[in-house]
Symmetry: C2
Subunit: 355 residues, 2 copies
């Protein structure tokens, strides 16, 4: 009998559930609204009901390895509790993992959403041929995940990979975290819109001003649309985002020397607009390396990536993510598979006491 697992992407807006087989093939995917207004218990009930409906369909023909859930917040890996999840009010200091396990009768693994996105890209996306990589997720905020030796690197308290709060400009834009000049203040969707509004207020971005007037939901996506149409004000904003990303990536490259850095999240669809500025910064700031951008970034395909070539030795690859919003779903589904394969490896040694 073959195996499968359930991956869940529990966001503040959408709740997505997928059944995935051990090779990463999608068996079924369900998207629901996360009805946070109904309260935590109701969301848990709806989620567990949907998980059960999906898994029941396949249980006759395959073994459920477990359920992996990506959540927006920091997880205490020991207790399975979340710490101050901003988009899930009322979920902090509540035994989320234990409650879901009780309802489902299956092993559950909770994981930070940026970490599962990185694991998804490692398993089936941009990072599938590398062992060590970091991913930056450019969404409403900027999250990140670190994969070392193929596994999520948690750090001591589960906080590793908070690259959105790397300091890029010591006296820069104040950030909600208390710091100034965090990467998140230049490379998130929120930051793109804020920088556009600042440009409009300063009076030197007529294209943006016109677009903002005619669009109630003046979004990062709309600003990107203007940028690819050649609007200089919009292009300047993505150059600023790319510059901040380049500064932070250079620090990561010099400090960690990983094989690959993946840029994902919603804003990464504007790769063509911001990636040339990333490579311009890397060319200047990477110590032993010479950064080379893709030959024609504006004309490049969706999988376009650049490389940072060391003067000797292996290249460092900077690339955009390949799985889009499914990265977290696949990464979550990977968690029980990985956990099981560790158990198998251990048991594979035979009786541990005989070692």
């Amino acid at each position: 009998m073959s195996n499968f697992s359930i991956g869940v992407d529990l966001g503040g807006t959408n709740l997505r559930i997928a059944a995935v087989d051990g090779q990463g093939n999608l068996m079924e995917k369900v998207t629901l609204a996360t009805r946070t207004v109904l309260g935590r218990d109701q969301v848990l009930n709806e989620m567990c009901g949907a998980i059960r409906r999906v898994s029941d369909k396949y249980k006759a023909s395959a073994t459920l390895l477990g359920v992996g859930i990506g959540v927006p917040g920091i997880i205490d890996m020991d207790t399975g509790m979340m710490r101050e999840p901003p988009n899930l009010p009322g979920w902090a200091d509540y035994p989320v993992r234990a409650e879901i396990e009780k309802r489902l009768g299956a092993p559950v693994i909770l994981e930070n959403d940026a970490n599962v996105a990185a694991l998804g890209e490692k398993w089936l996306g941009a990072g599938r041929n590398v062992a060590d990589m970091a991913m930056l997720t450019l969404g409403t905020g900027v999250g990140g995940g670190v994969i070392l030796g193929g596994k999520i690197w948690h750090g001591i308290t589960g906080m590793a990979g908070e690259f959105g709060h790397m300091t890029g400009e010591p006296e820069g834009q104040p950030c909600g975290c208390g710091n100034r000049g965090c990467l998140e203040q230049y490379a998130s969707a929120t930051a793109v819109v804020r920088m556009a509004q600042e440009a409009i207020a300063s009076g030197d971005a007529p294209g943006l001003a016109q677009a903002a007037d005619s669009d109630v939901e003046f979004s990062a996506q709309e600003i990107y649309r203007l940028a690819i149409q050649g609007d200089e004000g919009a292009r300047r904003i993505f150059r600023r985002a790319g510059r901040a990303l380049g500064i932070s990536l250079a620090t990561l490259i010099n400090g960690l020397n990983l094989e690959m850095y993946v840029i994902g999240g919603g804003v990464s669809s504007a790769w063509e607009a911001f990636s040339p500025a990333i490579f311009a910064e890397l060319r200047q700031r990477c110590m032993v390396y010479v950064a080379t951008a893709p030959a024609d970034p504006l004309g490049s395909s969706s999988g376009a990536s650049g490389q940072v070539e060391p003067r000797a030795g292996r290249k460092t690859i900077i690339t955009r993510a390949l799985l889009g919003s499914d990265a977290g779903l696949y990464g979550a589904a990977r968690l029980p598979i990985e956990s099981r394969s560790i158990e198998t490896a251990v048991w594979g040694f035979g009786n541990p006491s005989g070692l």
Copy 2:
């Protein structure tokens, strides 16, 4: 029969050799000048001669596990060659490891000097009770090393830990590496002297000007002496160094979430002068943490450290190194011991083919 190993710290000025037993006890230490003017082969001959003299004394009563050598430069771990070592001209692209092994007839491990310093502090110094730590070495330049799971983390090309080239000020002081505003430009001994000279030139550091006039070798140490005597110009320089260290440490803490960050190297003896500025930055810039400096940094002992307390969970410790200039020597001696214990662990499983 007990075991011992030989650690070598091959610097551009001094060549130091130590015999160390498996528990980290020093058996013998020898310091020679590194006579680089005589050329690479002569330095290798002198080094191998000294290693042989030391090891021959103990070979009758203990087994030599091997020789670990810390060198100032980046090592290609596969080939055992060095890449562009600035203080050892003529050593690049030369099979250093193979040559030394041939002369000594013993296994040799080459390692970057900042990495062995981190390993030494992990083994016997500030980090002896933690598994995951990073060390910043503030010397002529700023080096660094990362220890994960008790082992040196090399990255893909052996470059990991180049924290001296983290960007702290995107438009700051130009650095020899091609970047601007590198940590090294604010927190190295070279930077301390440069900042003092800038302050003298600007005319608002009379104490420094007077000291520079009367001191041919106007050094970072002399500037530190003025700082602890209360000279405001000198104190300002160490605050600047501490600020740069705090900005970079906050990025490392937010991004890597390691248990401990150790500050070593010659400049770290000025800990009392620069550490308050580190903690001031960390209080502002660390995301989930609240940094607490030692209660009385100026009156604190040589082992003084501060902590970055998370709102929940384990503390992150920021501390100065404990082993001084011996960290690299002990770390180098640790390399063959560690390498041997890996072999032992593998063979301890019995016949590998039986797994």
